[in-house]
């Protein structure tokens, strides 16, 4: 599966990250693994670009972070905030509307 271009992916990482973090608190490496599993490797991003997205979400108060010492390593754990939860609901509704519209267009018989 080729890697998708950044422009095609814009907006999707935010939705996916919020969805994953709404389930449970995770650190970057766990998020990358969960993303691979959840999408069945259909969406492959350079894993390093997760961090700018996470920091931007944190700056916008959609996620919060805390440091935890696990097995002698300091991990930065992220979780969704209340406003992040509301943002996730809005993004999910938008995505479903767009995906539904695309799906119904694809299912229409040819007009030609």
């Amino acid at each position: 599966m080729p890697r998708q271009g950044a422009s095609l992916m814009s907006g999707i990482p935010e939705l996916l990250l919020l969805r994953l973090l709404a389930r449970q608190e995770m650190y970057g490496y766990e998020i990358a693994r969960a993303l691979r599993v959840a999408t069945g490797d259909a969406i492959q991003l350079g894993e390093s670009v997760l961090y700018p997205a996470l920091h931007a979400l944190e700056e916008r108060r959609f996620v919060a972070s805390r440091r935890r010492l696990v097995d002698g390593r300091t991990r930065v754990y992220y979780r969704v905030t209340a406003s992040g939860q509301r943002r996730l609901e809005r993004l999910t509704a938008d995505w479903r509307r767009i995906a539904g519209a695309v799906e119904s267009t694809l299912q229409e018989p040819d007009h030609g």
Binding site: A6, Y27, G28, Y29, A32, L45, G46, E47, S48, V49, Y51, P52, A53, H55, A56, E59, R60, R73, T74, R75, V76
Partner: protein
Amino acid sequence: MDDRTLATAAVRLLRDGVAPRHVRRCIEELRAHRADLCTQLRAQGLDADAAAAEADARLGTVDAFCDAMRARPELRGWAARAPWLVFGIAPLLAFALLGTGLLVLFGTTVDALSPATKATFDASQWRIVGALLVGAVKWALPLGVCAALIAIAWRGRRRPWWPAAGALLTVAFAAAVTMRFIAPEGTAQGQLTVGLGFPPRDVLRLVVLAAVALAGVALLGARERAERLGVRADA
């Protein structure tokens, strides 16, 4: 994305205006992520080199990471977003507030002393206290504010022009402050007068403060030149 590549990326991001706290933490998280990936891949049977190569492939290129950081306006630091505020207005405000705070603290403390305690100080001791106070406001405080300015620029890899302008503004403002302390002597009460006089008449103080502050700012330029030469040497 070895340590050296990440260190170079950090410098690039700071120069491009990304806030130091985001740069530092992202780099830290990337290092930990790469170490986790290598551990996992080695556990799957890959040797160290192959695991490192696969980990780097999964992380993506350093250019993609830097582009993603730069593409997020939320991650830009205030020193890059509003240098006029950080290096122009904030140091003037800091000097004014800290100076006022110091004078208020001194006045309140002296007022709170009982007459018996005050009587234990003779005129020469009051003069020493007064000289320390005047020295703190006229010299230590402006230099401290300039040092903070330079530290912010140093940490954020800012170019020296804004810090130089801010340092000169601060020392010009500080040099305009006039202070006179008269020690209490016998039954005569002490007196502390503070004022502002523009343009600053204390030219010697202005020149000395400016020279010290600009010497500090020159360190920023020196490091920038050294790093440029280092990058050229690497290339």
